[in-house]
C-alpha cells in the first residue's frame, strides 16, 4: 500500500443519504416509524395506486433548508421535483421522486480535520427525494417479498465534490456530516437502521495528473468502518488492475463486508437510463426569504463554533473539545457538569472523555442513556476537588455508581473510602514498611530511584488507596533521606 501511495493519488466523492427525522413521509401522511410490521405504514400514495397525488411535507423542506444554511450553501429560491425512472419491485410507481436540475440546496462546504490539519470539502448539492421499500429474497419459495414501509421516507442526498483524497479523509468527512445532521436534529443518524448511509465514487490517477481516472461507485455503505475498508479495497483493486495493464470500467460495485472486497453488480440495472423529467404531480417549491430567516433563527450552535468556544471559554485542548462537541448531548452533558460541580472544566472534561465514555462504549450506550447523570457525576467530582477522596478511589466510586443509583457520598460513606488525612496514621505505616524492607531501602539509598515506586505502592496498598498520593510521596521522600 505504501508503495502504491507514492505513485498514485485517489479521488473520492461521497453521496450521503440522510433520512430526515420527520413523523410522516415526504409525500404522504403515513408514519415513518422504524420497525413496524411489514406494509402497515404503506398507504395508497406509497403503494403508487392509481389516482393518488403526492403532497410535500413542510418539515422535510425545512430540514433541507436548515442543512443548507449550516453548510453555508445557496438555498434555491425555486426548486423542482423530477421523476427518476427505473423498474424495481420495491419502487411501485416505476419512478422515484427526486430532484435533478434544480435541487433545493446548492454549493456549500464542510471542514474536516485530518492528521491535525483542517481541509475544506466542497458540497456540490443536496436534494430531497423519497426512499424505496425493501426486498427480502429469502424463504418465499423462489419469490421475493416486498415491504413498502420505508417507501416514501424522506431522504436528503448530500453530494460532495470529488475532493477527498484518501479513505481516511472520506471517513472524516462522513463522521463530520453525521455529527452535523444530528446536531441540527434533522436525522437520527442511526446507521444500523439505515438512517445514514453512503455511496462512494472512487477513482485513481498517477500523481500529478490533472484529469480524473475512470470511477467506480460503491453502493450502500452503512458504517464508518466499512467506508474506510471498502474505499481502501477499491483503491488497491484499481491500482493493481491498471498496473497489470487492465482498465477500470465505470460500474456500480457492492461492498461485501464478510469477504472485505467489492464486487461488480452485474445486472441489467447497469443499462439504466433514468430519463429524468419534471414531475407533473408536483409544483415548483418556493423558498422565501422569510421562510429562510425563520429557519436560520432556529439553527443551534454548530459543532465547529462550539469546539472553538470550548477551547476559549474552558481552556480545553483541541482534542478534548473535539470529542466533547461530537454530539449535542455530550456537549450539553459537559456544560451541565461544569455548572453543577463548579469544578475545573479540565477535570470535568477528563472524566467525561475518560471513564464515562469508556464505560458507555463498553456497554454500547449513548450519552443520553448514561446510567450516571451529570448531577451524580458532579457529586463525585466535588469530592475529588475537596480531597475527600483521591482520583484513584474516585474511579472505584464511579464504577459503583455505574452499577447503582447511589450518590458518590453514599458510596464513600458506606464503603469507608474517605481519604485519610491523619498524617500520624500514614507515618506509622511508612515507618513499618521501611522497617520491613531493609533490602529495598538499601537499594534506594544506593541510587536506585526506581525502588521509590515500590514504597509508594506498598504504602498505598496498606492504606487501601485512601491516602493522598502526593502526601505519601512527600512523607516517604523525607523518611528515606
Amino acid at each position: 500500500m505504501e508503495n502504491y501511495q507514492e505513485n498514485w493519488e485517489s479521488v473520492i466523492g461521497l453521496e450521503i443519504h440522510a433520512q430526515l427525522a420527520t413523523q410522516s413521509k415526504i409525500f404522504s401522511g403515513a408514519s415513518t416509524a422504524y420497525g413496524a410490521e411489514p406494509n402497515t405504514q404503506a398507504c395508497a400514495v406509497d403503494l403508487g395506486l392509481p389516482g393518488v397525488l403526492p403532497v410535500l411535507n413542510e418539515q422535510a423542506v425545512s430540514f433541507a433548508v436548515k442543512f443548507g444554511l449550516a453548510i453555508d450553501a445557496e438555498i434555491a429560491p425555486y426548486s423542482v421535483f423530477a421523476r427518476k425512472n427505473y423498474f424495481y419491485p420495491d419502487l411501485p410507481k416505476g419512478y422515484q421522486i427526486s430532484q435533478f436540475e434544480l435541487p433545493i440546496v446548492g454549493n456549500g462546504h464542510l471542514d474536516i480535520d485530518v492528521d491535525g490539519e483542517t481541509k475544506r470539502i466542497g458540497i456540490t448539492r443536496a436534494h430531497l427525494e423519497e426512499d424505496a421499500g425493501k426486498s427480502l429474497h429469502e424463504s418465499f419459495h423462489g419469490m421475493s417479498g416486498i415491504d413498502l414501509n420505508r417507501a416514501g421516507t424522506p431522504l436528503l442526498e448530500i453530494v460532495s465534490e470529488p475532493e477527498l483524497r484518501s479513505a481516511k479523509e472520506a471517513v472524516a468527512y462522513m463522521r463530520k456530516m453525521h455529527e452535523l445532521v444530528r446536531y441540527l436534529g434533522i436525522c437520527d443518524g442511526n446507521m444500523q437502521e439505515g438512517s445514514f448511509r453512503c455511496d462512494a465514487n472512487v477513482s485513481v490517477r498517477p500523481k500529478g495528473q490533472q484529469e480524473f481516472g475512470t470511477r467506480a461507485e460503491i453502493k450502500n455503505i452503512n458504517s464508518f468502518k466499512f467506508v474506510e475498508k471498502a474505499i481502501n479495497h477499491e483503491i488497491e483493486r484499481q491500482i493493481e488492475l491498471i498496473e497489470s495493464g487492465g482498465k477500470v470500467v465505470q460500474e456500480t460495485r457492492l461492498y461485501d463486508a464478510n469477504k472485505d472486497e467489492t464486487r461488480s453488480m452485474r445486472s441489467k440495472e447497469e443499462a439504466n437510463d433514468y430519463r429524468y423529467f419534471p414531475d407533473p404531480d408536483l409544483l415548483p417549491v418556493e423558498i422565501t426569504e422569510i421562510f429562510k430567516a425563520q429557519i436560520k433563527a432556529q439553527l443551534p450552535e454548530l459543532p465547529a463554533a462550539k469546539k472553538q468556544r470550548f477551547t476559549e471559554q474552558y481552556g480545553l485542548d483541541c482534542e478534548s473539545a473535539g470529542i466533547l462537541t461530537s454530539s449535542r448531548q455530550l456537549s450539553d452533558y459537559f456544560e451541565s457538569l461544569v455548572k453543577e460541580s463548579l469544578c475545573e472544566a479540565k477535570l470535568c472534561a477528563n472524566w467525561i472523555t475518560g471513564d464515562l465514555l469508556a464505560s458507555l462504549n463498553k456497554t454500547d450506550l449513548d450519552i443520553a442513556d448514561s446510567p450516571v447523570s451529570y448531577q451524580r457525576l458532579a457529586g463525585l467530582l466535588i469530592r475529588i476537588n475537596d480531597q475527600t477522596i483521591s482520583g484513584k478511589i474516585a474511579k472505584q466510586v464511579f464504577e459503583l455508581m455505574w452499577q447503582s443509583n447511589s450518590t458518590a457520598d453514599e458510596i464513600i460513606d458506606e464503603k469507608g473510602l474517605k481519604q485519610i488525612t491523619d498524617t500520624g496514621a500514614i507515618e506509622a505505616i511508612i515507618d513499618r514498611i521501611i522497617a520491613e524492607n531493609p533490602g529495598q531501602v538499601e537499594q534506594y539509598l544506593s541510587g536506585k530511584d526506581k525502588v521509590f515506586g515500590f514504597f509508594v505502592g506498598q504504602v498505598m496498598k496498606e492504606m487501601q488507596g485512601k491516602a493522598n498520593p502526593a502526601e505519601v510521596n512527600k512523607m516517604l521522600k523525607a523518611k528515606l533521606k
Binding site: 413523523q23 404503506a42 418465499f140 423462489g142 417479498g145 408536483l282
Partner: protein, 95 residues
Amino acid sequence: MVLTADDVKKIAYLARLGIDHQDIESYARDLSNMLDLMKQMGETDTGGVLPMAHPMDQIQRLRVDDVTETNNRDNFQKIAPLVEDGLYLVPKVIE
C-alpha cells in the same frame, strides 16, 4: 436525427413496453420526426426565458408533518396477486 430499430427496442425496453415487431419501423419514423421537431424548437432563442417546470403558474403547497394515515394493509393486500406474512410477493429479483 434518424432512430434505428435498435434504438426503438431500447426505448421500449427502458419503459417496459411490449411492441410488435411489425410496428418498429413506423415507431422509428414517428419518433424521429418528433426529435426533428425538438431540434427545430431548440433553435429558438430562449436566452432569458426561465424553463417552465409546470404548466400551472403556481407554487407547491406544503403539508404539515402529521401522521394522518392508519394501517389499511388488509384492504390493500386484498387486491394484490400474492401476499405472505404481510409482504407483497413478486417474481424473484436478484441484485
